[in-house]
Every structure is written in structure tokens, then in C-alpha cells.
Symmetry: C2
Subunit: 632 residues, 2 copies
């Protein structure tokens, strides 16, 4: 009987991201899918701005963009008028008050997205076994290393396989065998269910917003328009709702009926079909799984755990982040870095996001029917640390934009996401709620553009460290004349025997390649040093004066000298300013392997900075750090 690190069931977005990450990190994977081949047509297609950050951080954005997807910068709203419909307003997909690298939604057929992951997996020797399905599993603990037995079977044949594994993951979608076997219930947040018709095709029309995302309300019904790659368009039509008098969840419609309805709704504009690529009618309700795992061995994610309306285009994006969240946590446990208990944070973090998504989904419908706020009401772009009074309506509007763009994800305080009630109570932690930094634990790191010193390239700081399973220590070094001693102390404390950094040193530390950029000393931490100075005059010389440990990160030294139009004109160092850190004294932003902020600490002379970090990491790593008292 063969042993695996993980058995993954289902090769949709959630399963593929998990497989891609763990495959890159060298785990032995059995990945099966019931379908004979990847998605051919239809299904999900919207990649949110935040997901593009994620795909780029995985090194896969260029492969996605090579398919020339459609990009949605704005949403248009159409309402009934005397002669049919008229445009009542437009709304940015990702308004300027959100500091996003890619302020648009990218639309591409799910099959093409799947293929990008499949090709990457194959580079690491992971292939999806098709068409196979899971027939049985149990966590019988007969083998303490591989506690789960899993059986799979060829969909059309008699072949079967049985194996043992450390983990089992269900990315099976809404109808999950694993979830049923576990007896995990689906909880319905909003009792309203809908039947949707969805049609992808190439159309001829004089409707002026056919290349925009539109929500159209007319006397003949409602429709949602979503542009696609290759001149295609997707139309969503609500066919029935549980609020209808004659509600029938089995109500259906033919392709011709949906086309006829679309023609009526779009009047006075014409619409004709050159071809229909995909057509489907499906009932969908809101649902959320009550648990994502029972034993931290068998996990679930994606549509298996949460279903909702397609209106906000969130399904695939949430699936991406479910998988990424789980991937690095499994990695940290299996690599001996973290306590097994940290696996509990997968459910607590991701279930909250799904709940927020479902709440949002209900609120979103309501918002559509209200007036839009004016530019003045929404306020200016920059994330300031000033508290701003906002009325409820504007707050909902902003939250909606944040949510649909993917930037609304905010994990609650826990061992990873520092707060004043975190077990690590060192006085050097900086708190967002006290306006000591703009960086909020549990939220994504704010993007910042800087100059890489070694080659003078203008780069995106938040993308400089890839998804590689490492914590990212963004050291904002302020003014080197002020922080020289603090950096020397930081460096010498890092190399102290029981520091978080030394405790997890690479075994092959002495033979690491000269060209290793990210993990010269340890697989679990990468440092990036940003100085509040101009590259040309100053930072090239500063690099030479750095202590050896920091100098080893020569490819991760940056000059904070790029002008940022979002900031006031007295800004000297835009990245420092964006982080809410002193342009003189700097500070350290600890970012989790998935790009979310963990904590922010002061950069001071003496041992304090590393002491604070020892306390923070000491709450979840597998070894005692610092003095005995640091193990909380």
C-alpha cells in the first residue's frame, strides 16, 4: 500500500492551488478528479484584483494574461425607462480609495485558468488521475504518520486503489462525498434560493455596454452582463426566486427561451447570437458548511464549504485563498516548523471569510436598488491613519467594493494576527488601533513601489518575496544614520542561538547557492530591507556597511525613493509613509506566507526587537525561543 502526504479530491480551483503549492514544496500528492478532462466550457470566470496579486505572487499571472482575458474596470447600471432601458450610472470595479495594483476584474474561462495550474503542477511531477473518484476513507490512526486510509475507483471501470495518507482534502464542489461521510451539515444563511440561467456566447448587438459588466433591470426581467475573452459575453438571467409566488426550484428554461428573454430585456437595443458556447440552468441557494475539518487531517475547501449567488463573482477567488491558507499551514507542520495546533486556524480564518461573503451576498442585492454615493461622499484615496467619520451608506458602499475586489478579507485576531490581547505582550509591538502603523494584522500588506538597489529596477515591494512558505520580514530601515546601531543589534540578535531565525536554520546552510535570494539561512524566513533614502546617492553605499547576516540579502535591499501620487507632497519615503512608519526610525512588518500582515514591531537598539519577534513566533513554532520565559 502506497503512502502519500496528501490525497486531494477534485481538480477545480481549490484543489489545484493546494496541489500547486504543496507540489512546489516537495510533498507527495495523489490528486484525483471525477471528470475525464479539465473544464471545457462555462463555470467560474472572474478573477478579482486581489486574486491577481495572489497569482502574480505564485508566478502564474503572466500565463493567465497570455490568454488575453477581458478586463472589467467599471460596472454599469441600467434601469427601466419609457422606451425600454437606460443607463443610470456606473461604478468602478475597484475604486481609487482601494490601493490596488490591478484595479480591474479579469474574466477568463475556468478551463484556461485550470490549465495554468495543471501545467505548473506537471513541472513538479504532479498529475491529476482522471476520471477517478473517492469511494471510502477513514482516519483510523493505524499508522501514526499516515493515519488515514483512502480508497478510490475508476469512474467507468473496475480498477480500484487503496492508500494511506497524512491528509485528505475535499475540493469536490457543492456535492461532496467527503462532507457527507463526515456528516457535516450545510447551514443556510439567507433562506432565499434562486434558479439562474447562464449563457456564454458571441453576440452582435448595439447595446453600448456589451463589453462592460452590467446589471440591467427592465420591465421584462433582470439580467447581468459579463464580458469575456475572445469577444464572448456571459449573460446571467434569474429564472426563478424562492420569493416568487409560484416558486419552483426545478423550474427550467431552454436556450431559446433565455435568448428571447434577453432580447426583451435589452430593448430598445437588438441582440443576435453568432454562437452559444455554453448554456446551463441551475438552482442555487446560500449555504455554508458548519465545519471545514473535524480532526485537522481531513479538510474541505471551496464550493464544498460555501455556495452563494454568482452575482459578485467571488466563488473561485475564495477557493484560491482557502487553498493557499491551508497549504502553508500544512507545510509548516510537516516541515517541523509549527505546532500541529495551528491547523485549527484554517477553519477559524476561512469560515469567517465565507460567512462575510454570504452576508455580503445578501447585502449586495439590497445596495443595487439604492442610489450611488457621490465621489465627495466616498472620500479621497489614501489609507490614512486618521479616523474618518462615515455615514452608514458610504460605509456599506466601500465595504462592498473592498469585498468584490478581494481586499475586504480581514482575519480576526489569533496567534498569527497580533492584537493587544495576543499572548506576545512585548512593549515594542505597534498597534493599528492606536494609529502607530497603518498595517493591520489579518489584512493584506499595503502595496508599495521601491527601487531595488542591486540592479536599480523599479519593483513592487509586496511582490518581491514569492509564495514560498516563508514568513516575510519587511524591515523598514528608516534613515541609516539613525538606525545603523539598531540594525547591527537586530542582525546580531537574529544569529543568537535560540532566536526565531537561528532555531530554524537550514541544515545545508554552508552549501547554499551564492544565487539563493530568498532563503540563504532558513526556509521559513525571508528578509527585505527598505531604506528611506535615494538609491543613487546613498543606498548603494549603505549596502556595503550592513552587517554580514543582512548583507546576505543583497537582492532584497530597496531604496524608498519612488514618488507616489497618492501621498502628500511632503512625503520623503513613500513606502515608509504608506506603512505608517517613521521615515527616520522605520519598523518591521511581519507578513505571513500568504501576504497577510502578522504583526508590526519597532526597530530599536538593543535586543528588544528580536525579543518581541521571539515572543510572537514563540506562540506557534515547534521550539522554545529566546529565554525560557519566551515560550508562552
Amino acid at each position: 500500500m502506497e503512502n502519500y502526504d496528501i490525497v486531494i479530491v477534485g481538480a477545480g480551483p481549490v484543489g489545484l492551488v493546494l496541489s500547486t503549492c504543496l507540489g512546489r514544496w516537495g510533498y507527495k500528492i495523489k490528486h484525483v478528479d471525477m471528470r475525464p478532462e479539465p473544464t471545457l466550457t462555462g463555470r467560474a470566470d472572474g478573477i478579482q484584483p486581489r486574486s491577481l496579486d495572489f497569482l502574480r505572487n505564485m508566478g502564474l499571472k503572466r500565463a493567465i494574461m497570455a490568454h488575453e482575458p477581458a478586463k472589467v474596470y467599471e460596472v454599469a447600471f441600467w434601469d427601466p425607462s419609457k422606451n425600454g432601458i437606460h443607463r443610470t450610472g456606473t461604478w468602478a470595479s475597484c475604486p481609487k480609495f482601494i490601493d490596488a495594483r490591478y484595479p480591474f476584474t479579469t474574466l477568463l474561462h475556468q478551463g484556461l485558468i485550470e490549465r495554468v495550474f495543471l501545467e505548473d503542477m506537471e513541472k513538479n511531477g504532479v498529475k491529476v488521475q482522471r476520471p477517478w473518484r473517492i469511494t471510502a476513507f477513514k482516519n483510523d490512526g493505524k499508522d501514526s504518520t499516515y493515519p488515514i486510509e483512502v480508497s478510490i475507483k475508476h469512474v467507468n471501470g473496475e480498477e480500484t486503489e487503496t492508500m494511506r495518507t497524512k491528509y485528505l482534502f475535499s475540493g469536490e464542489g457543492a456535492r461532496s462525498f467527503i462532507r457527507e461521510q463526515l456528516g457535516v451539515k450545510i447551514h443556510h444563511k439567507d433562506p432565499i434560493a434562486h434558479v439562474w440561467g447562464v449563457m456564454d456566447g458571441v453576440v452582435r448587438t448595439n447595446f453600448p455596454d456589451i463589453k462592460m459588466k452590467c446589471t440591467i433591470h427592465s420591465d421584462a426581467g433582470s439580467i447581468m452582463v459579463i464580458p469575456r475573452e475572445a469577444n464572448m459575453v456571459r449573460l446571467y438571467i434569474q429564472i426563478a426566486s424562492s420569493t416568487d409566488k409560484d416558486w419552483n426550484p426545478r423550474k427550467t428554461a431552454t436556450e431559446a427561451e433565455v435568448q428571447a428573454t434577453a432580447k426583451k430585456i435589452l430593448k430598445p437595443y437588438y441582440i443576435e447570437w453568432d454562437r452559444v458556447e455554453w448554456f446551463s440552468v441551475y438552482p442555487i441557494g446560500q449555504g455554508i458548511a458548519e465545519r471545514y475539518t473535524l480532526d485537522e487531517r481531513v479538510f474541505m475547501g471551496g464550493d464544498c464549504c460555501h455556495t452563494h449567488s454568482p452575482k459578485a463573482g467571488q466563488g473561485m477567488n475564495t477557493a484560491f485563498l482557502d487553498a493557499q491558507n491551508l497549504a502553508w499551514k500544512i507545510h509548516h507542520v510537516e516541515a517541523g516548523f509549527a505546532d500541529r495546533s495551528i491547523l485549527k486556524t484554517y477553519e477559524s480564518e476561512r469560515k469567517l471569510i465565507a460567512e462575510n461573503l454570504l452576508n455580503f451576498d445578501a447585502k449586495y442585492a439590497k445596495l443595487f436598488s439604492q442610489r450611488l454615493p457621490s465621489a465627495g461622499e466616498v472620500g479621497s484615496a489614501s489609507q490614512t491613519s486618521q479616523p474618518i467619520e462615515e455615514n452608514e451608506f458610504v460605509k456599506v458602499f466601500k465595504e462592498s467594493c473592498e469585498f468584490t475586489s478581494g481586499y475586504g478579507v480581514a482575519y480576526n485576531a489569533n496567534i498569527y494576527n497580533w492584537s493587544p490581547s495576543h499572548p506576545a505582550q512585548h512593549p515594542l509591538f505597534l498597534s493599528h488601533t492606536k494609529y502607530e502603523t497603518t498595517q493591520r494584522p489579518g489584512r493584506i500588506l499595503t502595496p508599495a513601489t521601491v527601487t531595488r538597489v542591486v540592479d536599480a529596477n523599479i519593483v513592487h515591494l509586496e511582490q518581491e518575496i514569492p509564495v514560498n512558505g516563508s514568513f516575510r520580514l519587511y524591515v523598514f530601515c528608516g534613515d541609516f544614520r539613525v538606525t545603523k546601531k539598531a540594525l547591527e543589534d537586530f542582525s546580531s540578535q537574529l544569529t543568537a542561538p535560540r532566536s526565531f531565525y537561528s532555531a530554524f536554520a537550514r541544515a545545508d546552510k554552508e552549501s547554499v547557492s551564492f544565487h539563493e535570494r530568498h532563503n540563504p539561512h532558513t526556509h521559513f524566513f525571508t528578509l527585505a530591507l527598505t531604506f528611506a533614502a535615494a538609491r543613487r546617492a546613498d543606498v548603494t553605499d549603505i549596502t556595503e556597511q550592513l552587517p554580514e547576516t543582512l548583507k546576505r540579502y543583497r537582492d532584497h535591499v530597496y531604496a524608498d525613493d519612488v514618488w507616489e501620487p497618492r501621498l502628500p507632497s511632503d512625503t520623503k519615503a513613500a513606502a515608509h509613509r504608506k506603512m505608517g512608519l517613521s521615515e527616520d526610525r522605520g519598523g518591521i512588518v511581519v507578513v505571513r506566507p500568504d501576504g497577510y500582515v502578522g504583526c508590526v514591531v519597532k526597530l530599536v537598539e538593543g535586543p528588544g526587537t528580536v525579543e518581541a519577534l521571539n515572543q510572537y513566533f514563540g506562540t506557534f513554532v515547534s521550539k522554545g525561543l529566546g529565554g525560557e520565559e519566551a515560550r508562552l
Copy 2:
């Protein structure tokens, strides 16, 4: 005996670009190369900022960037010091006063660049026949359609082929059989010749600028450092010069000798090689072919026509533009659009550029040894229409940056590049020399960022029309309240029977796809309409009011509403302002199929605008335009 549209000899950059363009436009191509396979190591590697524009316009930039090339933003200068060498300054590859989309040089192994073209050619059924070489050709005119007979032979075998062709092109490189057969002489501009050693490899070093482009002068000799993809670096070492007392053009050096020299030059820094990928020693002098063609049937381009030092990284970039220049001109003649006489402009335009390149190459060496100008001397970024007094030194500095970035290409006045002495003398032409526009005929169109109205995408206007053999009519429409009538008149004159636009209408005009963006009416013109207004409020409604002919370009309607930091704060419409056109009255910039400005005309009510354009196009197209008098 088989007939071809063109026989192309040599599959280096110049031959590949020509083959790619003509293959896309449906020509029948025989392409042969002596080498058994594409370049494996070494050779050219620098892609200049302007060439990235070109590659993007060809739709090939993403494929180049997928190889993760190195990017050079700055050049560092090192000079002898007491203990070895020290940095004396740095210099932007493409300083801010050049309005470039990609202000960096991209370094990638020539073989990877060749493969990008080869893959694109295969999509159009063009394959390079290897290893074959040309053995004979003559323009005997025995067949008036296919006047040239060409014989080729397998390099290692007895197989031969003979064919007839309309055109023959030599992209054979410096040692050209075709050039020799034609008896075309090489003229040597600078009598100084050099022997260069070049080495690509992976090194370990503490030299801090190893990822920068550097020119290093030391007491032990001189070296040029160029970073490459995949942690590689290229070193150029001048081994001998014809100015040396003991000059020997056959002087050579071993790999070990070059490494030993590099070690001496780089002191006090160390350098060690992990591996050497390529090493070569070659003599090179400056040379330029006296003719590029004798009969406008047999053409030459690339290294076959011009050789020079590798210092400024210009070879491949000049080759790209040689080929592009020839491709659309052959296409226009063979498609029946242009007089055969226009083929003379290939030599007159491209030979001038090669001469400038050789002059620059000589001047560049001199400049290196002088002090660098200060930022204040170089002046601010924007291209204004104000004449600015500059001292000679700053002028040379600017020209050098323009030249190395590829933006220094400026074709002289001719039938394509309007000037006050052009045969078209209509009073509506706008002249750069009179500061009526910033757009200079013979120079690249200034880049501008605008909002595409149909889908609200933020786009690069200069990239919106691909290399497709069409002239690009950028109509800057100003304020629609002012120009409504002018646009209506322009549209109705376009459709008049003998207009430049109607005279070359597509034969299949009635059955053109609804989704054809670029050539709905004619294969030789594409229109793009930019309004000085905000998309949201205004231009979506303006589109509905356009005359039918213009409305057909619905995918090429833009709102000039994107803020541009290079321009003064009173700017309302940045693209109009950059073109030096009125934000109220607009104007039309005619851009050649290769992206260079042809002429600029006023947009006025009445027939004048199209009359002026009829005059301009009437000087080179194959049909009489407008009234009889318009055929000049």
C-alpha cells in the same frame, strides 16, 4: 519550378521579423538558414526600450518577458582608484526626459528571442529550412511577376532547389553571399577596429554592481558588464585595438586569459566562475553597406548592412526595425496599395539610421570619458513645443540616451514624412517646426494613456492599433461640442468615392465580421477617435451621436481623461496636450504602419481635412485621389 513571394536567407533577428510580418499578411515565403538550429548560446541580447514597444505592437512582448529577462535601468561607471576601482557615477538607461513606456533595457539570450518569432511564424505555416544556403540568384526578369531565380543547397548534402520569387532578402549577417554577389562595398566610417572577448557565465563576486550594466576602466584594462537572465552575466573585454602599437587583428585570448584579466580589472573585488556558458573572441570594425538594394527586388538588412562595436547594444534593435520598415512597404506594393517607387525609401530611411548609429558609436566612446551633466542641466521631462537653449554637451548626452534607448530614430523628410517641402501643400498641415504640434514626422508617436470607452479599460493609445500593415489615423476630436460638425464632414468626406479611404475599400466590405476592430472598411487604414472629455459623463453618450462610419470604430473610441504626471496641472486632456493639439479643436495625427508619424492635419469643418489627407496619400498610393489635381 515553385514560385514564392519572397525568399529570405538567414534566420537571425532581421530575417525572422520580416518572415513574421509577411507570414501574418499571407505571403508565400521560402526561408532558409545555414545553421542546423536556432542560436544556442551567446550573440546579441539587448532589447532597447523602443524595441519593447515594437515587440508589444507585434503582440510578442509577453512571450519575451515570460523568459524573465534581466532589466537594466541604470548604467554604472567605474574608474581607477588607489586600491583598484571605484564607482564614479550612474546614468539612467532611459532617463525621464524620454517619454518611454518601458524605461529599461531588456537582456535575453538571442536564441530565446529567435524562438519567440519562430513559434509565431509556425502559426502562419512558415518554417525555416535548415541547414540550407543560397548558392546563386539573378534578377533575370524572365517572368515579370517573379523576376528573380534563386538556387539553394543543403549545407551537408547534395540536395538542391531552384525557385522563382518576387523578392529576395539577405539577413545573412556580416558575411553575406548576396552582398558579395551584388558587388556592394562596405564603407568604413571609423578606421579604428577592435578585437573583443565576450564571455557569458554565472559568477560569484562581491562586486556590488554585478547586476547593473557597467563600464569599468582600470589600470589593468577595461571591461563592460551586462547582466543577463538566470543569474548570468556577460563580460566584454577589449583585447586589442587598431590604435595599439602592436595591433594585430588576429590577436586572440583563451577563456582562462580573459578570466584572469577580469579578475585583475575588478580588484579590490573578487570574481569566480560557477560556469561559462559561451566564450568568443572576434575582431570587429565599423562598416556600412553602400547600398541596401540595387533593383528594389533584392534587399539586404541587419548586420549584412551595418557592423559596429557591441558597446551600445544596438545591433539586434536596428535589425528589428530594418525588417519592419521593409515588411510593410513590400506589403503595400504587393497588395496594390502603393506605387513600386516607394520601395526606394527602405534604403534611404534605414541607411540613414545605420549612419547615425555608426556616428553615434564613435561619439559614445568619447562621451564616456567626460563628466556627466547634472539633473538641472538635462532639464525636465515633458516634451514641450517651446524651443529650449541647450549647450552642446547636454545635447550630446540627451541624444546618446535617445539613441541607446532606440528613440533617437528620426527619418528625414520624404513622401511618407511630411515637411513644408512635401508635394502635399494643403494649408491644413500642421508643422512641428512652427510649434503647431509636438508630433514630428519621421519620429515615433508620443505615448499617451487614455480610457477606452467601450469597456472603460485604461489603455496605451499608441499600442491600440497593432502592426497590421495599416496606416493609423489618430483623430483627436477635442471638445465634441466644438468639433461635432467637423467630425460629420470628415466622416462624409471619408466615404466620398475618390477619397484615400474609399479608394482602397475592402472587396468583402459587406461581409466583414461584426467583431473586426481594426479594418472594418479597408485593410490600409485604422481610425482611433480620442475625445477631450471624461468617459463616464460624456464620451459614452458622444459615441451614440457619431456618424455611422466613425461609429463602426466603436472599439477605438477613447476618453482623454487620465491624469499624466508629466504635464502641468492645468491640463484637461493629457493626450491632446502631449500631441501639442488644441483641447477644443483637436487634430489628426497620421501614423505609418510602423508607428512613426507621417503627418499632422487640422480637423476643420468642410472638405479640407480629407482634401489634405488625399494630397498626402496621393503622393504614394497607386490610385488617383480626390479631384484630378490631387494626384501630384
